[in-house]
């Protein structure tokens, strides 16, 4: 249907083109890029800019937003009596903790898996397929599975370890659980990227190093790591951005607890803007802008440092 429509319009426009001279604007390219540009403007560009604007307003999602200057930012950054001040400290603090705990694990574990698979053991294809598979599952399905696995009373984990650990509602177990689950769920893509990178390293380099008497640890740090630097950089940046947007795991697994110790910023943003009661979209937008700035600054720093060390 859509194709047929474009086709018809296209014939019309190319007809016009033939009759008019070269100095006339040719519209047909816009029939190709136009549909996307319109969607992009309505559903990405405009809301992003508007999101920044409403962080300077007292919007409630319903009425007209009223400009209040930096009031929202003052409230969440400096007003120590405000609940939103606490939300930012707790939420952003927990988000940063989550990033700090998960990103190294989401780089190292897949790197080890890729190194193991690079020895080309029997059954390699199956291993690879299995480690990648959870990436295809939704966060809510995975969290249901793990909330049952880790359950205090009817979870098989406690039963077979013969312990009575409350994995989801006491610290440090809540964090350990969140990190473990995140690694299980998300490392597939990084593993595949590292596999491809390791495959590309020339065997001669290793042989030459062995002849010079380098042991396997030296070879790893002197040859392997430098050779896959580009891929490490790419995955560190992409993984960090992904983990900053953490939401579903603490929401469904620990419910942000125990006592808000795993409540991440996106949970507060969602609650303020769309939770029950009157929407505080202005504050929510300001929190979102701060989270967005953190993501951009951290990716820029990573990019700078990882590129520099040459």
């Amino acid at each position: 249907m859509i194709n047929a429509g474009v086709n018809k319009e296209l014939k019309m426009s190319s007809g016009i083109e033939k009759h008019s001279g070269k100095n006339r604007i040719n519209f047909s390219p816009y029939l190709y890029i136009g549909p996307h540009l319109i969607l992009f403007a309505i559903f990405f560009l405009f809301p992003t800019l508007y999101g920044i604007y409403i962080s300077f307003t007292n919007w409630d999602l319903i009425g007209d937003p009223e400009f209040v200057g930096f009031a929202n930012y003052k409230e969440i950054l400096f007003n120590q009596d405000s609940t939103f001040y606490d939300q930012l400290r707790t939420g952003l603090g927990n988000t940063f903790k989550f990033v700090l705990f998960t990103v190294p694990a989401c780089i190292i574990v897949p790197l080890l898996l890729a190194a193991g698979l690079n020895t080309k053991p029997k059954g390699m294809k199956f291993f690879q397929a299995l480690f990648y598979m959870p990436t295809l599952f939704s966060v809510s399905a995975v969290m249901i599975i793990f909330s049952m696995l880790y359950s205090v009373s009817f979870g098989p984990l406690n039963h077979y370890l013969n312990v009575e650990t409350n994995w989801l509602a006491t610290q440090p177990y809540a964090w350990i659980t969140l990190v473990t689950v995140t690694v299980w769920w998300t490392i597939g893509a990084n593993m595949i990227i590292y596999q491809a990178a390791l495959n590309g390293i020339s065997k001669d380099l290793y042989e030459a190093a062995s002849m010079d008497g380098a042991n396997s640890i030296q070879r790893f740090f002197r040859i392997t790591l430098p050779s896959i630097r580009a891929q490490i950089l790419y995955t560190v940046v992409i993984t960090t951005i992904a983990q900053f947007n953490v939401y579903g795991q603490p929401l469904m697994l620990t419910k942000g607890g125990p006592t808000s110790s795993t409540t991440v910023l996106l949970m507060y943003i969602q609650e303020n803007a769309f939770g029950s009661g009157i929407s505080i979209a202005g504050i929510g937008a300001a929190l979102a802008v701060i989270l967005g700035l953190c993501i951009m600054v951290v990716s820029a720093i990573q990019f700078f440092f990882l590129r520099q060390r040459d």
Binding site: Y32, T48, G116, L136, Y160, Y234, M296, S299
Partner: protein
């Protein structure tokens, strides 16, 4: 040689340990879905069910009006398939435009689009809801289908792939009197099938697995897709292992089946996208 063998043995032991960790949650879910709840209460930790039952599936799919899983499943199918088709049409047209057509500002627009990929998506969440609300799309499939087609990464992928097709192909077709659209439709589209497959698979799975956005734009239980729906299901079956896990399993079946048949595309696409970026 001896050293090489030892390192291979270490690698295999490590991998087998990891295989155990990766496979247990999946097997646990599959097996539990065939246990009766009574079985779980009395013989909680037998590895296999004492009696294999399929009743959980019936209960979860059709038995609960507050968590209508079968309905959610259909909603998700409609949403994910529609979004995939929409994205394919939109991005292949745009990719052709940026790769093959000459017009003023082409490269500037393209560079601008690529630069916006650095904008964190979280900032547009709240206004996007307002736009959906203004359009009257709250609790409407369109809310989950259309905004996803505004993304730019797929255009980048497709354009990259098209750049690899020699321009002489187009020239000779043009000499034979083909129009732009004929070149796009009959010549380029068949040649970019591999990258379109990748885009389709990723769009479908991303759409199926999307959680935060649909949980904001759907509050009507009947209209919801399955991924945010599972959050309700979790509350409903908090103490009911068999039913909760059956619900989770139903939700992962489509992407799992897709993965079984198209595994190599997922693997190839990753080296494709990281290769050009890295």
């Amino acid at each position: 040689m001896e050293k090489k063998r030892i390192s291979k043995i270490v690698a295999v032991i490590f991998l087998l340990l990891m295989v155990f960790i990766w496979i247990v949650p999946v097997l646990y879910t599959m097996i539990s879905s065939f246990k009766s709840e009574a079985d779980i209460q009395t013989n909680a930790f037998t590895i296999l069910p004492i009696n294999w039952v399929i009743g959980n599936y019936q209960d979860v799919l059709f038995g609960n009006t507050s968590a209508p899983v079968a309905k959610w499943f259909m909603n998700s199918l409609i949403i994910s398939v529609s979004q995939t088709v929409l994205v394919l049409v939109i991005v292949s047209l745009a990719g052709y435009g940026y790769s093959r057509m000459k017009f003023k500002g082409r490269d500037a627009i393209f560079v601008f689009l690529m630069a916006t990929m650095m904008f964190p998506a979280v900032v547009n969440l709240i206004p996007l809801y307002k736009i959906i609300d203004t359009l009257g799309w709250v609790n409407n499939y369109l809310a989950a289908i259309v905004p996803g087609a505004a993304g730019v990464f797929n255009i980048f992928l497709i354009r990259q792939f098209m750049q690899g097709i020699p321009k002489e192909f187009d020239e000779s077709a043009r000499v034979d009197g083909a129009s732009d659209f004929q070149i796009f439709f009959k010549l380029i589209l068949p040649l970019i099938r591999p990258v379109l497959t990748v885009v389709a698979l990723f769009t479908f799975t991303a759409s199926w697995n999307d959680f935060l956005w649909p949980s904001i734009v759907f509050n009507d239980v009947e209209k919801m897709p399955i991924t945010p729906g599972l959050q309700l299901l979790q509350g409903m079956y908090a103490l009911d292992v068999a039913h909760a896990l059956t619900g989770a399993l139903v939700a992962i079946v489509p992407t799992f089946i897709l993965y079984l048949f198209t595994q190599k595309y997922f693997m190839e696409s990753l080296s494709l996208s990281s290769g050009v970026k890295g």
